[in-house]
Each structure stands twice: as C-alpha cells, then as structure tokens.
C-alpha cells in the first residue's frame, strides 16, 4: 500500500519559529546596522512585521490541513510580496534597507510555506517535496538571474536621471561604432557588432573544421594512438581563456620568439598582426576546437557502422559512402558545433581583452562602458542587450535547425559492424590541418610551462630564474608561523575558497533541478525549465554588468562581498549540472523510482536512497566542472572583484594589462597545475568504478560560461 506521511504542519511551524527567532535576535539588515527586525519595528518601521505575521498565520493555518490550503497560499504569498515590496519601495517614506540575515530567513520560510501550501492545494501533484524544491529553485533563479538581467537591460531605456528617453535609446542603439561596416570596403574600423559577428562566425567555422578533422582521424583514421587527442582536449577546460592569448603574444608578438626568429633568419619584418582579429581568432579557435572535437567524435560514434557497411554492399565507393551517408548524418552535429563556437566566441572576454588591440568586440566594449573612463551604464546596457540578442538568436537557430534536421535512426538489435576507413583524400586533408595544429598547441603550452621560469620569455630573455614565483608566491617563516607574503596568494586563496564553496551548491541545485525536470510533470514545468536554462545563454559580461547594477543598492546589496562571487558562479554553472543530471537520469529507468515509491518511500527518500547513488557520475562531473570553471572564469567576475575579494583570473588579467607577462604566465601555469592535481585527486577518490548500469559519459559541455 502506498503510504505518504500526513502533513501535520510541523514543518510550517518550524519555519515560522526560525523566522521569528531571527526576527527577534538576528540582524535584519545587511550592512552597517546590527539591529534585529524587532528592534526596527519598535523603531517605527512597522512594515517589517508584516512578513513575520504572515509567516505565523500560515503556520497556524497549516495545522488545519487541506481546507485551509488556499488561505495558506494567500498568506505566505502576501508575506513574501510585502517583504520584497518594502525592500524596493519603502512605503513609510524611510530609506530602504539592504536585506540581511534575518530577512533572508524570513523570506525562505515564506517561500517554503508557500510551496507546501501549493502542494496542499493540489499543485505539483500534491507532492510536497517536489513543490518545495521547485519553488525554492525557481525563486532563487528569479532573484539571481532574471531580476538582475532584466533590470540591467532596462537601463538601456533610461537616461542618467532615470527618466525614459526614446530618442536617447535610438541614438544609443544606432551609434556608428556599433553598426558601421566600413572595414569591409575601406581601411576604417567596423562597428562592434560587425566585428563580433565576423569573429564569431569565423571562430565557429574554423574550430568546427579542425574539430572535424581530429574526430575523423580519431574515429576513422586508422591511427594507433588517439589518446593524445583526448589528453589535448582536456587542456582548454582547465586553461583560463586568456592564457592562450598570452602565449600567442609571447610567440608571435612584436618581440615574440617566432617573430624574432623570422626577422633574423628570413628577414620578415616584425609587425603587430597578432593584435586584432587574427590573434583573437586563433586564441578562440584553440580553446574551442577540443569542444568541437568532443561533439563531433560523439556524433561519429553515434553513426551505426552498419549504415556505412550497407552503402558498401550497395556498390558505393569509400568516397561516395562518406559523401552520401557519413557526412549527411554528421551535419546536425557540425551545425551544433559551429553555433556553439559562435556563442563561445561572443561570450569570450579574456582573449579579446588581451589580444584585441583596436579590434573591439561586444564583450570588451560592455566592460569598458562600465569600467572604463567613459562610464555609461545606458550604453553598456544597450550593448549587453545586443549581445544577448545575438546569443539567443544563435540558440534559437540551433533548436529550429536541429528540430528539422535530426534523424531518428531506426534500430532494434544492432549489428556490430566496423566503420570503413576514411577516403584517402579526406584522410590526407585531415592530417594536413591536424599536425600543424598539434604542433602549435604543444608550442603554446610549452611557453606556459617554461615562461614562468625564465627572466622574460616575451622578449627572448631566457635566463633561468624563480623570481616570478618568488614575487607571486613567496612564503616566509615568521614568529607567528607561516606568512604568505607573495602578492598572488590573496587572490589564490579567495579563488580556491569561492570555487570550493560554489561547487557543491551548484551541483546540488543543478542535479535537483534535473531530477525534478526529468521525473515530475507539473503545471509551469516549461517555464521552470526555461528559467533554469537561461543562465546558459547569457554571456558572462552581461551577467557581470547585471550583477553590479542590480546588487549595488538595497534591498539586495551584495556588491563587494565574497558572497556575490559564489552566487554568480552557482547560477552560471548550474545549467551544466542540469544537463549532466538530465543526461544521466535519461539512462536510469523510471521504474527504479517507481519501485521505491511503491515500497512506501516518499519522494525525498527515493531520491536519497535510489536516484542519488545512481547519479554519482553526473554529480562528480558537475562538481569538477563547476570547481574548475569557477577558477578559470573571467568575463562575469572582472566586474565583481574588489581589492579584498580578488580572483586569480582577474589578478592575472591585470598583470597582463601592466605588461608583467612572466608573473602572469607563472601564475597561470600554477593554476593549471593545481586544477590538474585536483582533477587527479578526485579521480583517485571517486575512482572509475562502474555503476551498475551503462556509465554516464562525463563530458559536460560548457556553453558561454567563460
């Protein structure tokens, strides 16, 4: 018999008790004033009492069971609304307060009560666990993704005094430096949109071509050892995006190693060609190619070999088989890879900021409109809006195109065929692009490995030294114990701490979301999915701009704290957890859950005892990914760091800006090494123990998350 514990209202009561306790004793506001909510009310700020009263009322009603469900919904909803409303528009005429610990607990209590009340009213198929999870995540995503982004983008429509000004909007939107196409037919510069689009399209196309060459060789090339491809494809994941740019400068800059060599022996004059489109493009293609490789290799593996064998038995030559069977079946993945490359290029900030020179793209232009000398949030907002529109159209195009062009392969029991080798011409062409590319990659990582240990590799000064590491990472023994006197330690510790705090939270929220999405159907599921995936599509620079705009003022004032960094990473990386979780869950049979539920377990118990252990692989993958990404991301956090909470990547970008390449390279190599060790350690701890069922592929693909 199915047993579901009755709702005795205990949890609502507990939530209310916590809220009241915090109201009475914990600081209500975030900054400056340590007074509790009660103290504020006694001081005359009576609206603060409304949410608490609502919370108590809901808890009291909850003892009554179903009959009062609607009333509970109304009370808890109104309480939460009052909390927020008073935060934004203090209707008693006093300055608004930044919500602090007490307010946060009260808000959470109300959200939980509302979720349980909704379940009691029959929503979420009356499943209280699903209701609480969904409503909490939804509320968090609305607060930390939807609200800041919408608010920041709205700034595009207002002038500095906050009044709506349509002519100004049009003026901003049609500015020459956004849309100009001069570079196509003259030597003047193009608008930033044209630059961004051209760069994105080229990066997408070229990285896909290279990825395809790698994938074809690995799967069909008849090569003995393709492990090196897989090894190379891990590198960009743990390489901060601008590090490649740095290494390119070291090799090909005006005083670079290769440049000097060519100048000395072949009389090719030195130039600054690497700064601008070519350099940024090469750097982006370098980091994107491995992702294309993984996508296309997966697609190639997904083509049943018997299809190509069937073509052979029908008298098709190798070349014809490739052209009429392999390639058409690969096309959807190729398109996906091009679009992914495009989107990644749009979101990239680190490479253009190091290598762009006078070649401006949207992500850097947004940054300089906020952080530069000509501070102009309205302009930043319009640029961010355009950037977001371009990214979303790319995703939209992809889903439209894939919807029409993916093929349902019909198979029952399979034949274990052997895919035919590549046509000779294709193989030769693939080798022709792959070999130089591997050489370039090895050279660039060589620069990163060596660069920290010589005086100045960028100028060809190759005397061995450890002074860069000393500057950044010296440790002194003092009377009070170890003293980390190196200039880079602070940012390193903050980075590790933020990454370590963010990773488990990201994973928890991501996997829970995936679970709810894949196992439960409820009204509003579509909206829930859309909102949780939204952060995927928003470029980091846009998030950064949005966060400083939205969280710089009450009621949610977080700018300058370490918390905002954690929150930023959690919501930017969460979609990766959702995707990994969905992929894993789609392989785990629903009947397992149902078996547990029919044995009398509640949903919460089912998740804990049955689903979670089977999800181990996806959980570890998300954990690693979000940890690593929190350590390598640049675009969003350059807006959020402060002197007190600086992050490694921001620190390195600043060193590059100041021309201190050796220190930047030394720090980068240390970061890469650190992440490698972390990944190895996790591998050792978790082990490659197979789950009972087919292993879940652990290759989450990050979208626009740099």
């Amino acid at each position: 018999m199915r047993r579901r514990s009755a709702d005795t209202g205990l949890i609502d009561m507990a939530a209310a008790t916590a809220a009241v306790a915090c109201f009475a004793f914990a600081p209500w506001a975030y900054v400056g004033d340590a007074r509790s909510g009660l103290a504020w009310v006694l001081d005359g700020r009576w609206p603060i009492a409304i949410p608490i009263l609502a919370c108590l009322a809901t808890a009291w009603l909850a003892r009554g069971g179903f009959a009062t469900a609607r009333a509970r919904c109304a009370f808890s909803g109104l309480g939460a609304a009052a909390l927020l409303l008073y935060g934004f528009f203090p209707f008693d005429g006093r300055p608004s307060l930044a919500l602090g610990f007490g307010a946060a607990v009260t808000g959470s209590a109300l959200v939980w009560q509302a979720a349980r009340a909704l379940a009691a009213a029959g929503a979420f198929k009356a499943d209280r666990w699903v209701a609480t999870t969904t409503v909490s995540i939804f509320a968090a995503v609305v607060l930390f993704v939807l609200f800041p982004v919408v608010q920041a983008l709205l700034a595009a429509f207002f002038d500095r005094n906050g009044s709506f000004d349509l002519t100004l909007v049009l003026q901003r939107f049609t500015a020459r430096d956004i849309w100009a196409t001069d570079c196509l037919y003259s030597d003047r510069a193009c608008g930033v949109v044209v630059n961004t689009f051209v760069l994105g399209a080229l990066a997408g196309l070229i990285s896909t071509m290279l990825g395809l060459a790698f994938a074809l060789l690995a799967q069909r090339g008849g090569l003995k050892n393709t492990k090196i491809f897989d090894a190379l494809s891990v590198l960009p994941i743990i390489t901060p995006p601008f590090v490649i740019a740095m290494a390119l400068v070291v090799l090909f800059g005006r005083t670079g190693v290769v440049t000097t060599f060519l100048d000395n022996y072949f009389y090719i004059p030195r130039s600054r060609w690497i700064y601008g489109l070519p350099g940024v493009l090469i750097a982006q293609v370098l980091s994107q190619t491995p992702l294309s490789y993984m996508i296309l290799r997966g697609a190639l593996q997904g083509i049943a070999p018997s299809l190509e064998e069937a073509a052979q038995t029908l008298r098709a030559t190798r070349w014809r088989t490739f052209a009429t069977v392999t390639w058409p079946l690969l096309r959807p993945a190729v398109a996906a890879s091009v679009l992914l490359g495009f989107v990644e290029s749009l979101a990239d900030f680190g490479n253009p900021v190091v290598l762009g020179g006078s070649f401006e793209v949207l992500s850097t232009k947004v940054y300089f409109a906020v952080a530069g000398a000509q501070y102009d949030p309205g302009r930043a907002a319009i640029l961010a809006l355009i950037l977001l529109a371009m990214t979303l159209s790319a995703f939209w195009t992809q889903s439209m195109w894939l919807g029409r062009n993916s093929f349902v392969t019909v198979t029952g029991k399979g034949d274990n065929g052997v895919p035919p080798p590549l046509p000779k011409g294709v193989r030769r062409a693939a080798l022709g692009v792959v070999v130089p590319w591997v050489v370039l990659t090895v050279a660039l990582y060589g620069v990163i490995a060596i660069g920290g240990f010589v005086t100045d590799i960028g100028r060809g000064a190759m005397t061995p030294t450890v002074k860069h590491f000393m500057t950044g990472f010296s440790v002194e023994m003092t009377a009070n114990g170890l003293f980390f006197s190196g200039s880079a330690w602070d940012s390193f510790f903050v980075t590790v701490a933020v990454a370590a705090v963010a990773a488990p939270i990201t994973t928890l929220i991501g996997i829970l979301t995936a679970y709810v999405l894949s196992r439960h159907n409820f009204i509003g599921r579509g909206a829930f999915e859309f909102v949780t995936m939204l952060a995927f599509a928003i470029p980091g620079t846009v998030i950064g701009v949005a966060y400083i705009a939205a969280f710089n003022t009450p009621p949610v004032e977080l700018a300058g704290t370490g918390l905002i960094l954690v929150i930023c990473f959690v919501f930017r990386n969460m979609p990766v957890g959702v995707r990994a979780g969905l992929a894993a869950l789609s392989q785990i049979d629903k009947s397992l859950d149902e078996a547990s539920t029919t044995l009398g377990a509640t949903t919460g118990v089912t998740v804990r005892r049955v689903t979670l252990p089977l999800l181990k692989h996806a959980i570890v993958a998300t954990m690693v990914f979000s940890f690593v990404h929190a350590m390598t991301a640049v675009s969003a956090i350059v807006f959020l760091v402060t002197a007190r909470y600086n992050m490694a990547t921001a620190y390195i970008v600043n060193r590059v800006d100041a021309g201190e390449y050796p220190l930047a390279i030394a720090y980068s190599s240390l970061l890469i090494l650190f992440m490698l060790l972390v990944m190895l350690a996790i591998q050792l701890i978790v082990g490659e123990r197979k789950l009972g069922r087919r292993g879940v592929p652990a290759s989450p693909v990050g979208l626009g998350a740099h």
Binding site: L307, A310, L314, V410, G412, G417
Partner: protein
C-alpha cells in the same frame, strides 16, 4: 532470375587477433537455393556472412561466387547484397531514395534508378510509401524496405542476418514465409543466418549448423532433425532426452539399458560404439504400468498437448503426449513405447 550464382567456401578461416571466429570452414550454397547458417550466439554465423559480403577479409582459404574467386575483392566490388539485422536503413533518406541508393552508386541514371526502385517497392507491397522516412514506418515495413534495397541490384547472392530478430512474434512467421516465397519466385541464391532452429527448418533447402566456429553438420532440414550426428545437434535442433547407457541387439531388435531400465527400441540400426540414445519427447508413448522404475513426476497442460516430466533412475525424462490421449496423474507408474525408428543412437 538467371543471375543467381553459387557460393563456395574452401577451408576459410577468420581470426580476430587470437580469436578464431571461423575455423577452416568449407561448404557450398547451390545457385537458386536458400541455405541457412544456424547455431548458438557467438558461433561465427555473422562472421561467415560478412565474409561472403566482403565486409571481412578471410585470414586464409578461398571464397568463390559462381566460378569467380572473390577472396580478395571488397564489398563494393562483389555482386552480393545484404539485409542487415538492424536493417541499416539510411535515416536521412526516404524510402525511395534508400532503394535507389544502390543503382545510383553503380552509375545508373536517376530516372532509371527510380524505375528500378519503384519496381521492387511494388513487388514488396510498398507502393505509396516512397516519400516516408524510415522512422515513419513500422518494423515490418522497414524490413521490407531493407529487402527491396538489397534486391534492387539483382545481386547474384542475397544475404540475411537474423532478419526476424527485430520483429514481434506474430509477424515473424509471415515475414519468414514472404522471404521464402520471394526467394523461390525470383530464384535467388540466399544465405540466411538465424539462431532459431524452427525458423531454419521452416525456410531452408539446406541447413548448415555451426558450433564454436566450425560446421557441426549440414543437410536438408528433415535429415538434420531425424539423424543428428552428435549430442549437441540432437539437443540444439528440436528437443531430445539424452540418456547414457548401453545398446543390446537381439535378432535385429535393439534395446537400450540405462541405470537398470531397459527400453525397447524396435528395429533400429545401432552403429558399433554408440553409448548414448537421443529420444524425441513427442516420439515416446506412455503406457500405464502397475509398478515400474519410471513414474510421472509432473504434468503440464499446454493446450495442444500434455507435457510430462518422468522421474527416472538417471534423472528426468520429458514426454509430450497428444491432448486427446488420456491424462495420466502424477505418481502413475508407466512404461515406454518408442516409435519405430525414432530412437537416435549417438556415439558421444
């Protein structure tokens, strides 16, 4: 069709690394006949089929199609078509384009290829489905498209790898008969792989039974069923009770003695050295006895027959009796009557 050709294997072996998937196999498929390769999973049937198709190259030995030695030719150069177990329909092409693929690849004009394709689609009752994608067809229809695609080039040999394994039970018999009918109508040479002995018996002119990469026995279906040459075959094709013991012959009438029980076999030729008898469950009749070493342990109702499990000194004995016979209760002591000529003496 006069293009049908014979297939001949001469001492063919195929090694994968150290694994012998096919071990020194020789056989012949006469032109215009349907021959099945039958055997348990992993015995090398598919590999043999792929060797004929040219998808695998023989490690040693020779393969002939007609009089031509094709051992060194690739799949595209052999005049052989294959219906894959998974059908391997091109998911991005519609039914017509799938069937036209072969003619186009061999250099036919579009219009010509279309005529050939429509012709074969009509033959298989698929007219009207030309513009559907494979994913929009039922399992049975997909299978017929795969057959149409394979015969459109009028190959000299047609290969089927477990063609019924992805169909539901109801459809199997129908498709099986359709394949046989098509083969006979067009006079095709067909090599047909299956692990289902009933299917093999039903469709074949000749059955080749494989076990562990070698041919265990070959022959017409009836010959295989009635005169299996080993324990493996007696058990694999149809069901058998295999009993170890001793044959005694008197006046040409044989008796079999096992664990103190003697079973009269009637007039049977017993080769010298035979130590085992195979008894088909449906060729044994039960007679009530007052006391005997054999008694009924269990009785199962199967609709068309009774299935008895007898307790015997050597273990168990399975007997299938027609439903119209009197039902014997469990515990009943019985004696056996073996149909004349139904006992199969085996050496091992």
């Amino acid at each position: 069709m006069t293009r049908a050709a014979s297939v001949r294997f001469v001492n063919v072996s195929k090694l994968y690394g150290g694994v012998r998937a096919v071990n020194n196999v020789s056989f012949e498929v006469a032109a215009g006949t349907l021959v099945t390769l039958l055997g348990p999973s992993g015995c090398g049937k598919t590999t043999t089929l792929r060797l004929v198709a040219g998808l695998e190259r023989a490690s040693s030995g020779q393969i002939f199609i007609g009089d031509e030695d094709v051992t060194a030719l690739g799949a595209a150069e052999r005049d052989v078509s294959m219906v894959f177990q998974s059908y391997a329909l091109f998911p991005h092409l519609n039914v017509l384009d799938n069937v036209m693929y072969g003619p186009l690849a061999s250099g036919a004009k579009r219009a010509e290829a279309q005529d050939m394709a429509r012709d074969k689609l009509g033959l298989l009752g698929l007219a009207g489905f030309e513009s559907r994608l494979p994913s929009e067809l039922s399992g049975g229809q997909q299978q017929r498209v795969a057959v149409a695609r394979a015969i459109v080039l009028e190959p000299r040999v047609l290969l089927f790898d477990e063609p019924l394994s992805n169909l539901d039970a109801r459809l199997r018999r129908k498709v099986r008969d359709e394949i046989r009918e098509l083969q006979q109508r067009l006079g095709l040479t067909v090599l047909y792989v299956t692990h289902d002995q009933q299917e093999a018996l039903a469709v074949s002119d000749k059955v080749i039974v494989m076990d562990n990469a070698v041919i265990a026995q070959e022959g017409a279906p009836q010959e295989l069923y009635e005169r299996p040459c080993s324990r493996f075959l007696a058990d694999f094709i149809g069901e058998s009770n295999l009993i170890d013991g001793e044959f005694r012959t008197q006046d040409g009438r044989a008796e079999f003695h096992a664990s103190g029980v003697s079973i009269p076999l009637g007039v049977t030729h017993v080769p010298p050295g035979a130590k085992t008898v195979a008894l088909r469950p449906d060729r044994i009749r039960l007679r009530k006895a007052t006391s005997a070493p054999l008694s009924i342990a269990r009785r199962v109702y199967l609709g068309h027959s009774w299935e008895y499990t007898l307790a015997a000194p050597w273990g168990e004995l399975l007997v299938v009796a027609p439903i119209r016979d009197e039902a014997l209760p469990p515990g009943q002591a019985v004696e056996l009557d073996i149909d004349p000529g139904a006992a199969i003496p085996l050496e091992r």
